[in-house]
């Protein structure tokens, strides 16, 4: 490494400390929310990630994209300057939250929802951009309280970018995003009148697995997910929802094995 490289790295580090203007976390019922950027500055023509960080008091939760039996996921309405666009939220895998004989899917304590963003090539170096959004959410424990917050982060626009203090948070959230399953794996589902039997071939016996359905009203969220270990994976019985009246062609969801989550898109036969 040359001395010049060191100098540059140091320069970037200093830059990151002075350049991102995060607004303070905004209060929501029983917690706070904050808009973070993974980069300290926007580079014209480059993609980057923003993150919505929720911090909740013990016992309170917000919801995943499929909230399960009750609740609703947070909704983000962007107010973005011309040239900046936001993609759909990428959701870390949730937790099963059981209460009152219902099961919801959501997040307790802390979560960073990731949002892919793009800075257009027309952005002018030397300027700045204010990323702002209205966030609506419902925060629940044994009861639910709706909340609304206005969040923002102001970033300079410049040719170079670097790290921010939020990078470890983004890395941690990314580890919780469902990944495409390895190519050698296979998921299939069988329609068994009262239940779906999800068979997974994953190259070795699996004792514990959790399935989070992406579609609402296909499986009974609160029913136990009975796992039967096989030599190459497992079979899981998922009780059908009493609201499911028609056959479904595919069973889509997120499968949690240990601390790794995978996309499931299984044909149903």
């Amino acid at each position: 490494m040359s001395g010049r490289w060191h100098f540059r790295t140091l320069g970037a580090a200093v830059l990151s400390l002075v350049s991102v203007a995060y607004a303070a976390p905004v209060s929501i019922p029983h917690g706070s929310v904050e808009l973070l950027s993974e980069v300290p500055s926007l580079q014209p023509g480059k993609s980057f990630y923003a993150g919505l960080k929720f911090k909740l008091e013990t016992g309170w939760h917000i919801y995943w994209i499929n909230p399960g039996d009750a609740g609703q996921p947070p909704k983000l309405t962007w107010q973005l300057p011309a040239g900046i666009t936001a993609g759909p939220i990428e959701w870390p895998y949730p937790k099963r939250l059981a209460a009152f004989s219902a099961v919801d899917f959501g997040y307790e304590d802390e979560v960073l929802l990731l949002i892919p963003m793009k800075a257009g090539p027309e952005l002018r170096n030397g300027g700045s951009a204010n990323l702002a959004a209205e966030v609506r959410m419902i925060v629940c424990r044994e009861m639910c309280i709706p909340g609304r917050a206005q969040v923002a982060a102001k970033l300079p626009v410049q040719a170079q970018s670097g790290q921010t203090r939020a990078n470890p948070l983004f890395a941690a959230a990314r580890r919780k995003l469902p990944q495409p399953a390895p190519r050698s794996w296979e998921f299939r589902a069988t329609d068994q009148t009262e239940a779906f039997l999800l068979s997974a071939v994953v190259g070795g016996p699996i004792r514990q697995a959790v399935f989070f359905p992406l579609e609402e009203s296909q499986i009974e969220n609160a029913a136990p997910q009975v796992v039967r270990t096989s030599k190459t994976g497992f079979e899981m019985r998922l009780q059908k929802s009493s609201q499911l009246l028609k056959p479904i062609p595919r069973l889509r969801g997120v499968l949690l094995l240990g601390d790794k989550a995978y996309d499931v898109n299984a044909p149903v036969r």
Binding site: D69, A70, I138, C144, P146, Q239, S242
Partner: protein, 209 residues
């Protein structure tokens, strides 16, 4: 993890002893197209109400919790009261059902509920008090509000949300597609219900054990 085993047992039991009054569970919930199971409930007015006595009429079941912001949206806006008045005027029987267990949000005794009904100018046929959750489990009520419509032949023809705006915002009431009104309107006109099932939205029903 003890309860699921009990559920399974109860489900097997229920499927075998079809004609007896059953101890209902979530897994034995009624599906659209099924005959809606009979029930006996006590109203906040002290009277007893059974489904069977309303054969020949449309019946609406509305799960309710006065502390739930999703329920509030429809009462603060007057939407639920409007629906109750509109449809009961057309001969529909409308039961508001409260399945919150004692000590949980939304639990009320008869006099609490009567003052709520008066204060809100609510107009259901009756508000049924179901602190044991038996009626809730029988129909698989998941949220407040969760709506069910039963036709004059006693068949469940709608199970789901009140409308297509799953939020707590009062401003979302106007312009929403009301699934209950659609189902009742279509069924009264002799048509099939176009949207017989939707995901109910709201707060979880606060069942006891």
């Amino acid at each position: 993890m003890k309860r699921p085993a009990l559920h399974t047992f109860a489900a097997i039991f229920a499927s075998v002893v079809l004609t007896l009054p059953i101890t209902p569970t979530a897994s034995a919930a009624t599906r659209v197209g099924d005959i809606a199971p009979d029930f006996q409930g006590t109203g906040s007015d002290g009277k007893s109400y059974g489904l069977a006595q309303y054969k020949g009429k449309f019946v609406v079941l509305e799960w309710h919790n006065q502390g739930c912001p999703y329920t509030d949206k429809h009462y603060e806006s007057g939407n639920m009261q409007r629906l109750q008045k509109e449809w009961t005027a057309k001969g529909v029987v409308w039961f508001t059902v409260i399945s919150s267990a004692p000590g949980t949000q939304g639990y009320v005794d008869a006099s609490d509920e009567n003052s709520y009904l008066a204060r809100m100018k609510a107009a259901p046929t009756a508000a049924l008090l179901d602190p044991s959750g038996q009626l809730g489990h029988l129909y698989g009520a998941k949220t407040t509000p969760h709506m069910f419509v039963i036709n004059p032949q006693g068949v469940l023809i709608y199970d789901g949300a009140i409308d297509d705006r799953p939020t707590t915002d009062v401003s979302d009431v106007n312009g929403a597609k009301n699934y209950v009104s659609e189902a009742l309107g279509e069924a009264m006109a002799g048509k099939t219900v176009a949207t017989p099932v939707t995901r109910p939205y709201g707060c979880s029903v606060k069942y006891g054990n």
